[in-house]
Amino acid sequence: MFDDLRDLYQEVIFDHNRNPRNFRVMDNADRKVEGFNPLCGDRLTLYLKMDGNTITDASFQGSGCAISTASVSLMTEIVKGKTEQEAEDLFKKFHEMTTGKDEQINLEAVGKLAVLAGVREYPARVKCATLAWHTLDAALKNEQKSISTE
């Protein structure tokens, strides 16, 4: 019935929405930033554990739509073990993938985040996918405050 939506709602997204990974409060977090999308009410708190400039652990709490939940869940998995610079590079590539105009998207560069490439066809939903990454960006820049997509 929802054949048209297969590119947007891939099975991996349903899976992460049902069972979000790293969905927990981190008591000894080095960084903690809240992300908020006032348009849809999505709200998340991102926690990072750092060792120098390497992210050793990432977790989150919050509520949002399937796209935003899957995006933050996948992100917390993929950034573990990455340096700040590597994570920022990945954010840039992810941003290009979800908002870029180019027909050619380098899906290999983003690994399993490629399941979120479908949002580029749904302008109203791009912010759902990028909220997690904007929050991470704020956390890496050590902005201890709320960030908003608006």
């Binding site: 019935m1 929802f2 048209d4 939506l5 947007l8 709602y9 349903f14 929405n17 049902r18 348009l39 849809c40 009410g41 999505d42 709200r43 509520s63 949002g64 739509c65 399937a66 796209i67 935003s68 749904y122 109203a124 939903r125 759902c128």
Partner: protein, 407 residues
């Protein structure tokens, strides 16, 4: 179903024949804005093709024709809400501008530090923020009457909040987020007992029921054209003549003056005192055409048909496991807001859109209502006179299917 000519009405709305994602459009976002009948579209095309010029100025033929149509529409609005005079009908951009106008003219002239403005917890942002701005400017205090879990005003609490300090009551006639229709006659009687004027935000109520401002005895009534099958960008402020006469003007400019020298300006009479600058002529004419269209059907018939639609949709929705209706007032207009277990309203909105169904997902410009019900957002199906039971079946089937897909 009563013998309501819904198929005939549908044929009058060209957009309803549109295919969305290769499926017939099921348009259930009428509380946000509703679609326009051919008669309204034609009225604008006809004006620009044959009768258009600026109003109230020229002696030439087209200016006279344009003015006649423009002022003719004012009379239609006056009759539609049964105002006592055309002087009480002020054209504005919409309900939002009307409330801002009252806040910045009546409010600034009459409300002082320590005074209170009373609203309810189910207001749209447009009936919250203008008062907060006024409070900031004057030092007045905004009081909010609470609602219960059915989404109804707790009337006793409302009455208790009316005090000697209350200088204005501003309440929504029908809630956009919940569908609740407020006991506005009781509210007005209670406020008037203490000589407090009442503004009714009629943005949602106006397309769903016959409104008689003299019977209601409200002091101000505001609504937008675009929710009344008329163009966007046009709306109405109704105010009792004595109140409007005593109010300072809103904006200065052409049309709102009688005589200007560099030393002083004499303001024009009502309603022009509040209509500075060239007005939105074509959309006023479109609003008049929408009112003609609705009068030919009959607002009471529309209300009865929509009540049947809402009952049908509510009954079907209650059968869906995991669906919770937000807004279960005893007296309600044709709005069905809901949430689903573990499925975010934005996912509901996107999935239904892929089936050609347009609903609204979000906070509906009523964030305090979302906070009260402890939901980040709701999905909202809002019905109009051109919707059918078959469309409600399509909606319910879509909801069932997306619940299955989410698992």
């Amino acid at each position: 179903m009563t013998n309501f000519p819904v198929e005939k009405i549908r044929a009058d709305f060209p957009i309803l024949a549109e295919l969305i994602r290769n499926k017939p459009l099921v348009y259930l976002d009428n509380a946000a804005s509703c679609q326009k009948p051919q008669a309204v579209i034609d009225s604008i095309v006809h004006l620009y093709s044959h009768d258009y010029a600026n109003v109230h100025r020229g002696v030439h033929t087209l200016s006279v024709r344009s003015t006649d149509k423009f002022e003719g529409a004012r009379t239609k609005v006056k009759d539609f809400i049964n105002a006592a005079s055309e002087k009480e009908i002020i054209f504005v951009r919409g309900a939002t501008e009307a409330i801002n106008l009252v806040a910045q003219t009546y409010g600034k002239a009459n409300i002082k530090a320590g005074d209170e403005i009373l609203i309810t917890a189910m207001e749209h942002h447009s009936n919250i923020v203008p008062w907060q701005m006024l409070c900031e400017q004057t030092g007045a205090i905004l009081k909010v009457a609470p609602i219960n879990l059915q989404g109804e005003l707790i009337y006793d609490e409302f009455e208790k909040l009316i005090s000697d300090k209350t200088k204005l009551v501003s309440v929504v006639h029908m809630s956009n987020a919940l569908g609740t229709i407020n006991p506005v006659k009781d509210i007005i009687a209670a406020a008037h007992a203490k000589n407090i004027p009442v503004l009714l935000d009629g943005a949602q109520a106006i397309p769903h029921m016959a409104v008689d401002v003299q019977d209601l005895d409200c002091d101000f009534y505001v609504f937008s054209g675009h929710k009344l099958y008329a163009p966007s960008g046009i709306g109405v402020l109704y105010g009792k003549q004595a109140l409007l006469e005593a109010m300072p003007p809103y904006q200065g400019g052409g049309d709102m003056i009688r005589k200007v020298t560099f030393e002083e300006t004499e303001y024009n009479v009502l309603p022009y005192k509040f209509e500075a600058g060239t007005p939105n002529i074509a959309d006023v004419v479109g609003l008049g055409a929408a009112i003609d269209y609705l009068n030919a059907i009959g607002m009471d018939k529309i209300a009865a048909y929509e009540a049947e639609l809402l009952d049908y949709a509510t009954e079907k929705a209650q059968q869906i496991k995991g669906l919770r209706i937000i807004g279960e007032a005893g007296h309600k207009g044709a709005i069905l807001a809901f949430v689903l277990d573990r499925i975010h309203p934005h996912d509901i909105g996107t999935m239904l859109d892929s089936l050609g169904i347009a609903i609204r997902a979000g906070h509906h410009c009523a964030m305090p209502v979302m906070d009260f019900f402890e939901v980040p957002a709701t999905a909202r199906a809002s019905f109009a006179m051109y919707n059918t039971k078959e469309e409600i079946d399509v909606l319910m089937k879509g909801i069932q299917s997306l619940i299955e897909v989410f698992g």
